[in-house]
């Protein structure tokens, strides 16, 4: 056993929903006891049922429960846990929370707080990654201080450019600018939106690429300086910067380009002193040039597609790394087999995307070859309106992309969710789209797709109670 290695006996999972269940599964496989925390509307959630221990830490609103750091830490101390797994969302990318864990002698399962903070500031992250050797889009290395500065820079870069919030994410605080006269209003709009959303109005500008692909590299780094990548995920199918479905591998990456992007991500993570699992997101243009976009310092929703094609358990790797173990395998041992697709099943109207919480009256899961479902709901469960609308992820694996698409179709057809509306019909339509089937996708895909398949004029928009 290497020096500094520590075995966890008990882990608190500071999350809910499918990812909390996902983490419990791996902890069970590793013989680690789990503590669930939950809000009072989540008493019947499966993560509460399947954890070894559980505590209600607050009322329904996240700020008073899942984001309530004192309540989470207090529970961790009462139950005497060795570590906290934050999942994704909530406290997963809070460097403050990571610091508190450290101060309380509870291992935060993720990278060092300093790296979380660095990657949380998009301007700083770009600078650091540029220094670490990653290609970045031509644009501002610093926050924009004035319109004059912005105009000068925009002329250097050439239009179109994009204005982005430094603290941003999820598409808020972004403006595409096609000409100089739009620039002033765009800067102001983005800054105002960013200030409202993130309490930080700092913006920067960079070259805007039309219809790029969103390609991300999954990395694993231990605390001993070893780092490998598990190949890429293709996440171009997005609506308003929210991913809807993801694939591994990308239908367009050659083995050479995969190695090139993977090696670049690994080199950067090593320079950064990164540890744990992480994701380096890139834009890929039509000339196969890639540019660093941002880094997610946590497990991602779409991690299962990588698990399917590599047979790696990414949560297990996170835990082993946090225990101080070195990586269990090298880059050369990595194998990517077949093709995987994940569809996010949201409790939403599939045409209007209006949330559809409520009681699930019937629930049937698809099975058979190459199908994985990660979920936390069941027949009789009431999907609360307080949280993310994602209720399940359907992941398929097959020898080829074509077979995976056919498999996803039949899996979605066999999946029954009654009582609420879900995005299953949307995904079924995407599976039939000729451009999707041809792999001819970019981040503009959903605009094209929804224009073709949008809601009919007279549709009643049903917003559930």
């Amino acid at each position: 056993m290497p020096s500094g290695s520590r075995k966890f006996k008990k882990i608190l999972i500071a999350n809910r929903g499918e990812i909390a269940c996902r983490i419990i599964w791996t902890c069970k496989e590793m013989g680690i006891r789990t503590v669930a925390v939950h809000s009072d509307v989540d008493r019947d959630s499966l993560h509460v049922r399947f954890a070894d221990e559980a505590a209600c830490i607050g009322p329904a609103p996240s700020a008073q429960s899942y984001l309530n750091i004192p309540a989470v830490i207090s529970t961790a101390e009462i139950f005497n846990v060795d570590a906290i797994h934050p999942g994704y969302g909530f406290l997963a990318e809070s460097s403050y929370f990571a610091e508190i864990c450290e101060a309380c002698n509870i291992k935060f399962i993720g990278p060092p707080a300093s790296v979380i903070r660095l990657m949380g500031d998009k301007v700083e992250a770009r600078r650091a990654m540029k220094e670490a050797g990653l290609p970045i889009l031509p644009g501002s290395p610093d926050p924009i201080e004035s319109e004059e500065e912005a105009v000068k820079l925009a002329r250097e870069i050439g239009f179109p450019i994009i204005v982005k919030a430094a603290a941003g994410g999820g598409g808020r605080g972004m403006r595409v600018v096609h000409s100089e006269d739009e620039l002033g209003r765009a800067l102001e709009g983005a800054s105002t939106e960013a200030a409202a959303a993130f309490k930080d109005g700092t913006v920067y500008i960079e070259r805007f690429i039309e219809s790029p692909r969103h390609i991300e590299i999954q990395v694993l780094a231990d605390e001993h300086g070893n780092c490998i990548h598990l190949g890429e995920r293709e996440c171009s199918i997005q609506r308003r910067h929210q991913k809807l479905l993801e694939e591994a591998p990308s239908p367009v990456l050659s083995p050479e380009l995969r190695n090139q992007m993977g090696d670049a991500a690994v080199a950067a993570c090593k320079k950064l002193g990164y540890s744990s699992a992480g994701t380096v997101e890139f834009l890929l243009d039509t000339d196969n040039k890639f540019y660093f976009m941002e880094m997610n310092t946590r497990i991602q929703v779409e991690h299962p597609v990588t698990e399917m094609v590599t047979l790696a358990d990414i949560v297990r790797n996170q835990i082993r790394i946090a225990e101080g173990d070195p990586l269990g395998y090298t880059q050369d041992e990595l194998m990517i087999v077949g093709h995987a697709i994940e569809c996010r099943i949201n409790a939403e109207n599939p045409e209007t995307f209006a949330p559809s919480p409520g009681l699930i009256t019937a629930f049937n899961l698809p099975g058979g070859p190459g199908v994985r479902v990660d979920t936390y709901v069941y027949a009789g469960y009431r999907v609360p309106s307080f949280y993310d609308s994602m209720i399940a992820k359907v992941i398929v694996h097959a020898r080829t992309r074509e077979l995976a698409i056919a498999r996803m179709k039949r899996a979605l057809e066999a999946m029954v969710v009654e009582g609420i509306k879900t995005t299953i019909p949307l995904h079924l339509k995407i599976m039939d789209d000729p451009k999707f089937r041809a792999g001819d996708i970019s981040t503009s895909f959903m605009e094209y797709f929804l224009a073709q398949n949008g809601p009919k004029k007279n549709d009643v928009v049903a917003v559930a109670h």
């Binding site: 700020a63 207090s74 529970t75 109670h465």
Partner: protein, 203 residues
């Protein structure tokens, strides 16, 4: 208790906006009534009917979000007060949710509040003081001082009834109601979760 520096370890100040609102613990007061969420399936329905049966209702009706149940029973004599009946049924639904009756369920054996809540649900007529936070329950300000309240104590809304320790901070909990303490559901030093009944007050 020898080294307060390490025992009462100081939490670093928040450095990021996103969670600053929920930052350092402060003295709180309980602010919410117990939650009365329902969801109906056969198991619950069965419990409901058993409950109606046990309580010998002449008639029962429940309507909620697309769900309505109505039961009437021919009884020769019945003096059941409808108001208390309603309260009883609401409690009856709450209790099994904690006990883990749902499908896909393994009970959480370590659930700190399970036993106390079940006990509390039996005391229909009492006003409950629930825990406003997760933490450790103390009946007195220090190990060698008297408990804030005992069975039979009379409390006013601003009476301190206990301390809940969370992250080494001692949070005084006030009664927020007046009446006589007739039940104490948790023991000194026991962990409590959010919403867990602490005291039963007779108005």
């Amino acid at each position: 208790m020898s080294k307060p520096e390490s025992e009462y370890k100081q939490i670093p100040e928040p450095v990021e906006n996103e969670v600053r609102e929920t930052g350092a613990p402060v003295r709180r007061r309980r602010s919410r009534q117990p939650h009365l969420e329902t969801s109906v399936n056969m198991d619950e329905l069965r419990e409901l009917i058993a409950l109606i049966q046990e309580n010998g209702f002449a008639e029962f009706e429940l309507e909620r979000e697309g769900f309505r149940i109505h039961v009437r029973r021919d009884l020769a004599q019945s003096d059941v007060a409808p108001d208390s009946a309603g309260a009883q049924i609401a409690d009856g639904i709450l209790a099994p949710a904690t006990g883990g009756s749902g499908r896909g369920a393994t009970a959480s054996p370590g659930h700190p509040g399970a036993r106390a809540e079940t006990a509390a649900s039996e005391d229909q007529d009492l006003h409950m003081i629930p825990s406003p936070i997760v933490g450790t329950f103390y009946r007195s300000a220090s190990p060698n001082s008297d408990p804030f309240v005992k069975i039979g104590s009379n409390v006013e809304p601003d009476s301190v009834v206990c301390i809940i320790e969370a992250m080494k901070l001692m949070n005084e909990i006030q009664a927020e109601t007046s009446g006589e303490v007739v039940k104490i559901y948790v023991e000194n030093g026991q962990p409590v979760e959010y919403g867990q009944p602490l005291f039963g007050i007779k108005k």
